[in-house]
Subunit: 337 residues, 4 copies
Amino acid sequence: MIIQIAADCEEAQLDRIKSEVQAIGYEGTDIETQFGKYIIAIGKKQFDIRRIGSMEGIKDIHRVSDAYKLVSAKWKVGETKVKIGEDLFIGDGHFQMMAGPCSIESEEQIESTVKHLVNNGIKIMRGGVYKPRSSPYSFRGLGIEGLKLWYQTCREHGIKIVTEVMQVSQIEPMHDYIDIFQVGARNSQNFNLLDELGKVDKPILLKRGISGTMNELLQAAEYIFSNGNERIMLCERGIRTYEGAYRNTMDLNAIAMLKEKTHLPVVADPSHGIGVRRFVPQIALASVMAGADALIVEVHESPEKAFSDGQQTLSYREAEALYENVRKTIKLRGELV
Amino acid sequence: MIIQIAADCEEAQLDRIKSEVQAIGYEGTDIETQFGKYIIAIGKKQFDIRRIGSMEGIKDIHRVSDAYKLVSAKWKVGETKVKIGEDLFIGDGHFQMMAGPCSIESEEQIESTVKHLVNNGIKIMRGGVYKPRSSPYSFRGLGIEGLKLWYQTCREHGIKIVTEVMQVSQIEPMHDYIDIFQVGARNSQNFNLLDELGKVDKPILLKRGISGTMNELLQAAEYIFSNGNERIMLCERGIRTYEGAYRNTMDLNAIAMLKEKTHLPVVADPSHGIGVRRFVPQIALASVMAGADALIVEVHESPEKAFSDGQQTLSYREAEALYENVRKTIKLRGELV
Amino acid sequence: MIIQIAADCEEAQLDRIKSEVQAIGYEGTDIETQFGKYIIAIGKKQFDIRRIGSMEGIKDIHRVSDAYKLVSAKWKVGETKVKIGEDLFIGDGHFQMMAGPCSIESEEQIESTVKHLVNNGIKIMRGGVYKPRSSPYSFRGLGIEGLKLWYQTCREHGIKIVTEVMQVSQIEPMHDYIDIFQVGARNSQNFNLLDELGKVDKPILLKRGISGTMNELLQAAEYIFSNGNERIMLCERGIRTYEGAYRNTMDLNAIAMLKEKTHLPVVADPSHGIGVRRFVPQIALASVMAGADALIVEVHESPEKAFSDGQQTLSYREAEALYENVRKTIKLRGELV
Amino acid sequence: MIIQIAADCEEAQLDRIKSEVQAIGYEGTDIETQFGKYIIAIGKKQFDIRRIGSMEGIKDIHRVSDAYKLVSAKWKVGETKVKIGEDLFIGDGHFQMMAGPCSIESEEQIESTVKHLVNNGIKIMRGGVYKPRSSPYSFRGLGIEGLKLWYQTCREHGIKIVTEVMQVSQIEPMHDYIDIFQVGARNSQNFNLLDELGKVDKPILLKRGISGTMNELLQAAEYIFSNGNERIMLCERGIRTYEGAYRNTMDLNAIAMLKEKTHLPVVADPSHGIGVRRFVPQIALASVMAGADALIVEVHESPEKAFSDGQQTLSYREAEALYENVRKTIKLRGELV
């Protein structure tokens, strides 16, 4: 059960509400986000919801039987629009493309990419400065210095930054240089990281785990939300299956279903979703038709020279065709019956 | 290696070709289809391809290193257009929708569905008269009598029939009453059935196995082709994964990849691909964008009363919206850069 | 609900039972096997089970809510002992090993293998004469002539034969030359084949599908049982997972669980279960500890020269060590607390 | 390539070795562990290994083409014996059982469990004080205070502690109160955590990821080793598959294969591996036969009252039977041919 607390709820009213929750044998958790206050009350006993619902200081009350509560679509009216920057939103009809390399490699690469994005009207740049790598002997990213360099160029051109944070201790140093914290697939259930990202005033792009379920993804988002941060986007990036013909199996079912289960925006990552460059555009467009609110795509001036993920990275020319096709597809999507 | 035999190749020339194949230490398999003659030569030794390529009686010769040969896109120029009926094709730019119930249930149901299809310009009706059911105690279809009934109504209205054949002994009795033999997911590697369908002069709709790989699907198609039948369509219908939130996980990657690996048309079955009625339209449209040449969709006048698969079956109203949206999406697909 | 019909039930009594089943709104299916008569009554209405249970002509009556009925352990007292031959049983404490090559290749191979088995006290020989192969260009077995050759040598030495049947039309010609019909993983849901094997008076070794569930395997067995054949053994042979380090992932959980869910014997196939020769013995012994009633193992005089599956086939020397270790493990299993 | 540095290698010799590595175009990484010094040299160029191998200051040199190096069995003679405490080892013939509750719940529970362990000769107690939970509203463990309580009782009775560490900041506070740091399945690729655990002088129990591959697990171990900690144990705890009949699918293939691929000990966790109490013993014994060097099992005085995982937790009585059976099985394993 979600109890939405009214903005003008007084301390004494709040105490009475909590007492009542206890009285009916429920366990209450206090939640305070950027946008509101809630009590999540968990329990199994039958009781008359009006008994609590009519109390002073309550804005609304909702039964949500899902394992996740605040991220559920069952209580919130409409879809969530996540603010990325001034006049820049994702969700609730606001579609964005994010593009950039797998790894931030050099100043030249940053400048080249930013120019490509600006030329094509793309407002958010992706890239990694901390790279989770299977092997300890692989390139692990340029780190915070790379991020600062990247930040400078992006700020000059009004480009926002989305990049992966891998551990709690990176949050603070990264904070001022990024616009969206990305949680990678391998950290999708790194609960301590999720807790801390819930206390941050930046949007979060939360990737589905390598074999994450719908429920696990939504509960991971609940960690962030319940710690105070409502600005969450979920990202489908392909799952691990028996099929070895592609790196991952993009799960478009997930996009269609998430759009119903949650009010949060859903982002598609076709680059990881199939992992083969020449098929990324089809999967990107398919993701749009399945309902995605945004796309995140790997792009590089010379994919074959990229430090990582070159095999799934689009060249600028390929990306430009994709941007145009995505825009046409978004337009069509708005015209469907 | 595929050796395409010239139409005017004489017996003696053919013998010399076969001798030469043997001479280089390769094992040759003779193939004769509705449309041509081929020798598939399998071996590992190095040899000068011109030695065979220049022989009389040969139209062309192709190295194909895939596990499948004749269904590979590597040798055939262009995509295959499968003829379903007079002026009715699937593949190579010809897009079709197939719709109908999971099971053929009654004369009333047939008539209602046919009317729905005719009204909406749909030319192929799906339906099952032999139903593979997990339990022996479930409804297993109306059988051949149901098929005859169905056939009659369809013929009157110019509707083609696609329906599942489950075993070799059904091929002959079904033959005159169907237009496309469907091979179900559970029979995707029923090699005896595939062999026999290779000898039949009707198109085949071959579904991917429940956990079939790309290679297995293409090799299953090779069984049909190598027995003489080139009119094959492959069907993605969702695979089995760890995710229990939907019946299957529709694998759009497969559609994008099959379109490159094979010259055969690729059909999408979003009904089984997600298995939840209200998400079928999104997955259908996504499949179109991923490159599908056709759609096969479950439709019923009253889905909740359907003998089987009701939970994934569209009502007429839902289907009509889908048909219209698919047509718009196909149009857009033709306009992409 | 399973209604066990008494051996001396008269026609008129049976009719009254059927009428009563109908009267309570249940759908009844008549089953007659080698060992008994049953009515499977399916329905959802509440009724007093004593109303039927007390009727004349009934031996016993059991509520079984599983999707499978007659193969469930819920109604039958004790485990099923499948008779393979005079004094040769599998199940209910009777453990057997089955060994032999993947494919029957030649008379010499047969004789060598039979000698190996006789020397080691193994009484059942496995081997394939009809081979399901992913590619139509692979060796597909020696067929019925190979089987007759094999049969002759086995009969001379008192060795029983287990071999795969791939389609209905093979059942009759194979029948007199085999002792156990094996249903392969790809045919695990070939329902027509299962139906027909239910009418045969030979034991059936039913393999789990490549990604078959517990429920599917048990319902597949139900097809055989409900058509009249109670002599069924289930076989775990590894499932398809994301892990590519081995051919399949042997699922020992399945063995432990099947031993509880069904009264049928459970056979382990470690050769396919891991698909790597040098690990087959450990998996074989693990399978015994998980509860297997029998083992089926691939053995060849020269595994590296085998026509198929050489990489997972034991040499005679490796097999002999395994037989001895299995016997010790079986002995220990009997002594556990 | 692994270059083992001799114990008496002088600074100047080491510099010459590094120069030589660079000279052949390889990238060298310096490793220093509790037990030795190594240089991991990664590159692709051909060179004469003797050129480096004969240099002074080198103990030995090994080509290891796997993605993981120092954890590979290809270079190290014999199996690794991990020291847990005075006269307490795991690996290289030293078998141990670890048992205890999923969560540490109370002083009474600790005392009861310790008594149970002491009575049964079990020397390592498992339990969680930091619990990774899918939902933020679930019980997340007693934390460091719980650990201190637990530690006290264990020290009094000579019981060692294995417990999960979830993030870098917990390492230091936990360090003095634990004997083995456990890395949970969800953190199996939390590379920052692995890095830091490589700098710790305590053994690590590293669990396979929820859908982790052999390669990923071994490379995760390589993170720990290459940061300086050789005392690593790998743990198979079941993987995620399509089969929903059990919580996870215990992968015994992994145990057999890991025993060959790495010199590190392999631990089996049958409790999570199947997730159903009454099947845990069979899977535990099967794991021993597959080659496990240790078992970790969930045990609770009253499983049905456990805060978490009760459904897969053994009662004391069940556990006692298991301990005895495991001992018999270990004895048999030593007697196999």
